[in-house]
């Protein structure tokens, strides 16, 4: 079945009443859990898995679950922008400029451009999926441990350079993040590290706990000190929707973000996180006003938001074409398919064309639905910022606490969240930017595991990283970036030394 016939067949399936309803339901649930801290798309899909046998048609079930998954990406940006609370690692980058925009009264523009960018990116990704899925999936398989090491180390470098302020401070926070990530079991040998005998810590810290603690509670604790502020927004809330100028400023960011997110998202593992990082770095580089980044540059929201949405759509590619799940949420969808007796893989298109094309067609529809869902909501969300901080802050504390507890039903998580809150407060007091922390926490274990796996494979030979084409290229980019940064550093210092002499 060639592509166009398949797609038309797919739309005829996706546009039935039941499937449209379930697509909408999935998008709605996804947005809701994306906004609420704690419950993520993986856990939600897991909860709803038993529904798949009752629904009857597997296509309908998968359509809904796919909707939940990419819907969550749309919702995640809302709390990042409004409250500086990243729901997922992929939303951390959005916090950086998004929250600053909200503080300046431009929350509406940020939310709006995030929704629009996400829609465009999602659609671009689905188009890419439609036409280029199989060869791209094979490309994803070429990523072995050395490639993952190169990619995630590059991600760490990007995480450091993103933080406004001094590189040294960024590095310190990065290493704190890496240290926190090491608590728990060693990924290669299974040895227990840094748990001080505690059984609960054997699983390590949880990302949601860290994010809610450092960003949510930490910020609130810090704000408690300034009694002058009564609202998050210090200036008047201006126009609620993005202006034409915003669109003109952002459209290239959206386009670049979509492309970056699409390709990087195919790689199982850190796809969405790294794509948002890469997009931010690219936008900063291409911008005519790079100093604006970190203080509310709209490209800093448009780019990463588009990237992470494109990545969430392209992460379906390895699943549908190779039968390889790229992350926890996709793994749930994989389980749902297996239970129905459908084995995802290269034969999926041939054996179950209805399912394959039906789901792809529904993704076009789902993205459109999400845009329609989210854009009008922008006005309502923005009103939330008008709530006096004295009322908003306790509500945030309540939601984050419940959300954190809901992840594993362990009281210990609440205690660790308080620990992270103290950490976040301390960081802000000492003028450290917390953004590299969650990124290092997520990427660090990947770096360690892939490094050790690569060395096991090569027998200790370090040249494995440069002798392979993909990892070699990525390492080269890494080295170039470092050289560029240090060169810049030295130039600035020299210039500083010259002026007193003249």
């Amino acid at each position: 079945m060639d592509i166009f016939t398949g797609l038309i067949n797919g739309f005829s399936i996706a546009l039935t009443g039941t499937n449209i309803l379930f697509c909408f339901l999935g998008a709605l649930i996804g947005t809701a859990i994306g906004v609420l801290p704690g419950l993520g798309p993986a856990a939600t899909i897991a909860l709803l898995l038993p529904m798949t046998y009752v629904i009857g048609s597997p296509v309908t079930a998968i359509i809904m679950m796919a909707g939940i998954y990419y819907g969550a990406m749309y919702g995640g940006s809302t709390t990042s922008i409004l409250l500086n609370l990243p729901g997922e690692a992929a939303s951390v980058v959005t916090c950086i400029d998004g929250y600053q925009m909200a503080k300046k009264g431009r929350a509406g523009a940020a939310l709006g451009i995030a929704a629009i960018g996400s829609f465009i990116a999602g659609t671009v990704a689905v188009v890419g999926l439609t036409f280029f899925a199989p060869p791209l999936a094979e490309f994803a398989l070429d990523f072995g441990p050395p490639e993952y090491f190169a990619l995630t180390t590059l991600g760490l470098l990007l995480a450091v350079t993103l933080s406004g302020g001094s590189i040294i401070k960024g590095l310190i926070i990065l290493f704190v993040g890496l240290l926190l990530a090491m608590v728990g079991l060693d990924p290669i040998s299974g040895k227990i590290r840094f748990t001080f005998g505690s059984i609960v810590l054997q699983g390590g810290f949880d990302f949601v706990t860290l994010a809610m603690g450092v960003f949510g509670l930490g910020e609130i604790l810090y704000n408690l000190e300034s009694t002058l502020k009564t609202e998050i927004v210090t200036t008047k809330i201006g126009k609620v929707f993005p202006t034409l100028k915003d669109w003109a400023d952002s459209r290239w960011a959206i386009f670049r973000g979509s492309v970056i997110g699409f390709f990087v998202g195919i790689i199982p593992g850190g796809g969405a996180v790294i794509s948002s990082l890469a997009s931010y770095a690219v936008e900063k580089k291409y911008s005519r006003h790079p100093e604006e980044f970190g203080h509310g540059a709209i490209q800093g929201v448009a780019g990463p938001e588009s990237a992470n949405n494109a990545a969430s759509s392209s992460s379906f590619i390895p699943l549908l074409t190779l039968g390889i799940p790229g992350n926890a949420a996709i793994a749930m969808i994989f389980a749902a398919l297996m239970i129905q007796g459908i084995t995802p893989g290269p034969f999926l298109v041939a054996e179950h064309p209805d399912l394959f094309w039906g789901v792809i067609a529904s993704m076009y529809i789902g993205n459109a639905m999400l845009l329609v869902l989210n854009l009008p909501m922008v006005g309502i969300w923005v009103q939330m910022l008008r709530v006096p901080y004295g009322i908003l802050a306790p509500i945030i504390v309540l939601f984050t606490t419940v959300g954190v507890y809901s992840v594993q039903n362990q009281i210990f998580d609440i205690y660790s969240m308080l620990f992270f809150a103290a950490l976040g407060y301390g960081m802000r007091k000492l003028n450290f930017d917390p953004a590299p922390l969650p990124l290092a926490f997520v990427l660090g274990p990947m770096v360690e595991r892939s490094l050790r796996q690569s060395l096991l494979i090569s027998g200790g030979d370090l040249t494995i990283f440069v002798s392979r084409p993909i990892s070699g290229t990525l390492i080269a980019i890494f080295v170039l970036l470092i050289v560029g940064q240090t060169g810049f550093f030295i130039k600035r210092k020299r210039r500083g030394k010259k002026t007193p002499a003249t």
């Binding site: 040998s189 299974g190 054997q202 390590g204 389980a335 494979i457």
Partner: protein, 326 residues
């Protein structure tokens, strides 16, 4: 103000309805009177998870209350099992996945927060399946003999294994010892992760459960060159066992058992065990399990307990022989 009153009224009614629904569960009714939580200590999509979910699908045919599958991955299966060990033995928390590496292998290698042989009550065994040794479809290696020749020519053999000191890791090391060739095992974050890496051709061989490797074998990305069991695996009838190829390695493979917290009343355990037996004999269930390449091999409580003891001892002996330490 009327709107507020309406909202309050609605909320109160909803609250009352919820309380009543909860209250209806009271009474000395026969077990089970509410849904049973089933803990799977691994992530979704893995063989334990799929087995549990397939059981759950057919469970309601034979039991008035459904099962609720909860994934609690972490520490190679230890965290999930520990949760069950410390739960109330009221029959409403079960554990699927007993008999995996963390029960039979890990206790010999590192300190566990509980004793999997003593601190939990076995209920029944559902399935047992082999570890399938595979190579990349593009590889020239077609049998274990080819692998040994390959190694003897001085080539390095890297093996993708699901987790450190897991069942696949043990099989690989046992092969290395018994066939006298060096194999470097490279652990990954689970079965799916390791089979993906093998599919990309980044390692020489790999091992996994039939449900994990079957899609890749069908797609031609993998070639199965051996199974680590005493007899051939029925889902892979053309793949010879390692013993047939002259390598004396046969393990218990991956065992899927069900357990309950210690102290669960024996009538409840008997109910669970016999209901699971009915599920295992259901024709539709058999079909479903076949589609996920999971053979059905039921054992009742007594036999399962005995099996666990035997398998635990065998693995202990194997580990001592292979001199594996963490």
């Amino acid at each position: 103000m009327t709107k507020m009153r309406k909202v309050t009224l609605f909320l109160t009614l909803a609250l009352v309805a919820m309380l009543m629904a909860g209250g209806l569960c009271f009474g000395a009714e026969k077990y089970p009177t509410k849904p049973i939580q089933v803990i799977v200590p691994f992530t979704a999509g893995g063989s334990s998870d799929l087995t549990a979910r397939t059981v759950e699908k057919f469970w309601t045919k034979y039991s008035p209350q459904p099962m609720l599958i909860v994934n609690k991955p972490g520490a190679g299966g230890v965290l999930g099992e520990e949760f069950v060990v410390r739960s109330k033995p009221d029959g409403y928390i079960l554990y699927v996945g007993q008999g995996s590496g963390h029960d039979l292998v890990m206790p010999h290698l590192q300190k566990m927060p509980f004793d999997p042989m003593k601190d939990i009550a076995p209920v029944a065994r559902l399935s047992i399946h082999s570890i399938v040794i595979c190579v990349s479809g593009k590889s020239p290696i077609k049998s274990m003999k080819d692998l040994i020749d390959y190694a003897n020519k001085g080539n390095k053999i890297t093996a993708a294994v699901s987790t450190a000191a897991g069942s696949v890791d043990l099989v690989m090391r046992a092969i290395a010892k018994r066939a006298n060739i060096p194999i470097t095992t490279v652990p990954f974050a689970g079965g799916a992760d390791s089979t993906t890496a093998l599919a990309g051709g980044h390692l020489v061989i790999g091992g996994g459960h039939p449900s994990e490797v079957m899609p890749h074998i069908k797609a031609g990305r993998f070639r199965a060159i051996g199974v680590a069991l005493d007899r051939r695996d029925p889902t892979l009838p053309n793949v010879p066992t390692l013993k047939e190829q002259g390598i004396d390695v046969a393990t218990w493979g991956s065992v899927k058992g069900v357990a309950a917290p210690l102290g669960t009343p024996p009538e409840i355990i008997e109910y669970l065990s016999s209901t699971l037996k009915k599920v295992c004999e259901d024709a539709e269930f058999k079909k479903a399990m076949a589609s996920i390449s999971q053979p059905i091999d039921y054992l009742n409580t007594k036999d399962w307990t005995a099996f666990m003891q035997r398998a635990y001892k065998d693995y202990g002996d194997l580990i001592k022989e292979l001199d594996i330490k963490i």
